[in-house]
């Protein structure tokens, strides 16, 4: 059981983040293509959730008292797979199988395939409603766990997100914490050019949510903000995480093209992997 976290120090967190970014990039390269940008933008948030915040039990992924996480922007699966593998939800060797024939780690998260994935997602806009269903069920049963849901900024174009926002506000679901990965880029361009979300915080406030904003790459800010949000009663909580798409990748950082990269050959692989800072070749698939 992982209900009380040993607090990793800042140096340890930085090393974890560096390893996460290398593994994510390498997995995607070896798969031949993948959603790099939106996975790299979530590294600090996912590490904080799984190493410092959430109650989970890697040996019992369906532990009833665990905190739930719905990764509604399901294409960011690789960042979650790294956390789950390093935590021991499944063998690290699976990380080398991303998107390969017969894999248990598909590009978009799948609750049937992968231990630790609480809900299937990939068709944008649906996961927040599912997280609400989990939060409603917990309330009905008098359970105290939290339900986290990570949505994308591009995903927030979907009407269903706002149906869900209305419902959670109306029902004052204070066991639900949503996090918007606001990296300000979507497939076709800058969110402000494609379909602006601004004023985003005001929108969520208007729907009855308590809204927080944070630097989604600042360890202290993430930890403090999620904890402060957890204490709010009588409202659902939205944390707008200001992030940078493909953070730390020297070719792709803050580039629209990072959304889904293609790695067709060895030369491209070398170039892409060299773009992510790493100290050594990690044998991350060895348990």
């Amino acid at each position: 059981m992982n209900s009380s976290h040993e607090t990793p120090g800042k140096a340890e967190l930085e090393k974890l983040a560096k390893d996460f970014r290398f593994i994510i990039t390498d997995m995607i390269c070896k798969a031949g293509s993948g959603h790099l940008g939106g996975a790299l933008s979530l590294v600090e948030v996912i590490i904080t959730l799984y190493y410092r915040i959430m109650k989970t039990d890697p040996k019992n992924p369906l532990w009833d008292e665990r905190d739930r996480l719905v990764l509604s922007k399901g294409h960011a699966g690789p960042v979650l797979y790294v956390a789950l593998a390093l935590k021991g939800f499944f063998p690290k060797s699976w990380l080398g199988t991303l998107n390969k024939d017969g894999t248990r780690l598909p590009s978009h998260v799948d609750r049937i395939q992968t231990p630790g994935i609480d809900m299937t997602a990939g068709s944008l806009g649906q996961g927040l409603s599912c997280a609400i269903g989990m939060a409603v069920a917990a309330k009905k049963d008098g359970k105290n766990h939290r339900v986290f849901c990570i949505i994308g900024d591009g995903e927030s174009n979907e009407g269903q997100i706002w149906e869900a926002a209305l419902f959670a506000g109306h029902h004052k679901l204070d066991n639900l914490i949503a996090i918007c990965d606001y990296n300000k880029l979507q497939i076709d361009g800058r969110t402000d050019d494609v379909l602006t979300l601004e004023p985003l915080a005001d929108k969520w406030r208007a729907f009855g949510w308590e809204v927080f904003e944070m630097d989604g790459h600042d360890w202290h800010a993430i930890y403090e903000t999620i904890n402060r949000a957890s204490e709010v009663k009588g409202k659902p909580r939205m944390i707008i995480a200001h992030t940078i798409k493909a953070k730390c990748h020297c070719q792709y950082e803050n580039q629209v093209s990072s959304h889904n990269i293609k790695v067709p050959d060895e030369a491209t692989y070398r170039k892409v992997i060299e773009g992510i800072p790493h100290d050594h070749e990690l044998n991350y698939c060895e348990d």
Binding site: M119, G133, M134, Q160, F167
Partner: protein, 318 residues
Amino acid sequence: MDYAKMEMRLVYAHTLNELIEENPNVYCLEADLSKASGTNPAVLEKHPKNFINVGVSEANMIGIAAGMAVEGKIPFCASFTCFASRRVYDQITISVAYANTNVKIVGTAPGITQGPNGGTHMCFQDLAIMRAMPNMHVYSPCDPFELRSAMKFMAKSKQPTYMQLVRSVVPQIFNEGYQFEPGKAALLREGTDVTIAATGYMTQFALKAADELSKKGISAEVLHFPSVKPLDEKAIIASAKKTGAVVTVENQNIIGGLGGAICEVLSEQYPVRVKRLGVPDKFGEVATEEYLFNKHGFGIPHIVEAAASIVRKNGIQE
């Protein structure tokens, strides 16, 4: 309770109450059409804690139901067929069928029974599109006792399911003890010259057509398919072997629903002449049932004529 004379939507509501009383994990989800579904006030007043109205947001309803199902709840989500199927097709595909969540979706007022709501609300393709979804069962019960038995099965199974619900009073066909089984057809009338295969709302008319055919000296077998998926392949093949001719009747587009399912089975395993009756790939409109039956050719006289014609084509004289 006298279910035989009750509106089907009230049978739905009272049965849902029983299911909630047996298992408090059963929930009634509505999207602002709870009065139309019959659950308001019947379920709302009796089991307010198990009643969730999401407002006019069907996509959200399906997602909430999926999330609740992941946590062990058994949500029955109702709306008009058009909103319960085609409007939320992707939500059902991904959050329910693909994610294998134990959600029960109830499409009310199927096909032409939308009457005054007309073309926007008449969904003629729900059986077809729901049937084409992997991991989805598709039911269309024909009377109050079959509805009750189907709902009891749904509450116990872990199977994602779509069910059509006619809202009005319909004639009693089964007795209280009838047991619905998915993938099992009910042989309502034995015959030797032609098989009439029907589902849901149309089964009552198929039976009446069989009576008319009998007066003409044609012996019609009537097979009712409460479960369009899984389909009782053995039953339709056995009947086709006996009669050599099949007429399918459904309150739907003739493309892809019961008629389509039966053609798939027979063409591969025992080809016989088939005539599909229903709506011939047209949209609905505001109209009476009689007008729509006549316009699209799937009322009692049309079933009779189609059956007689297919028998003639097979070389048997009236």
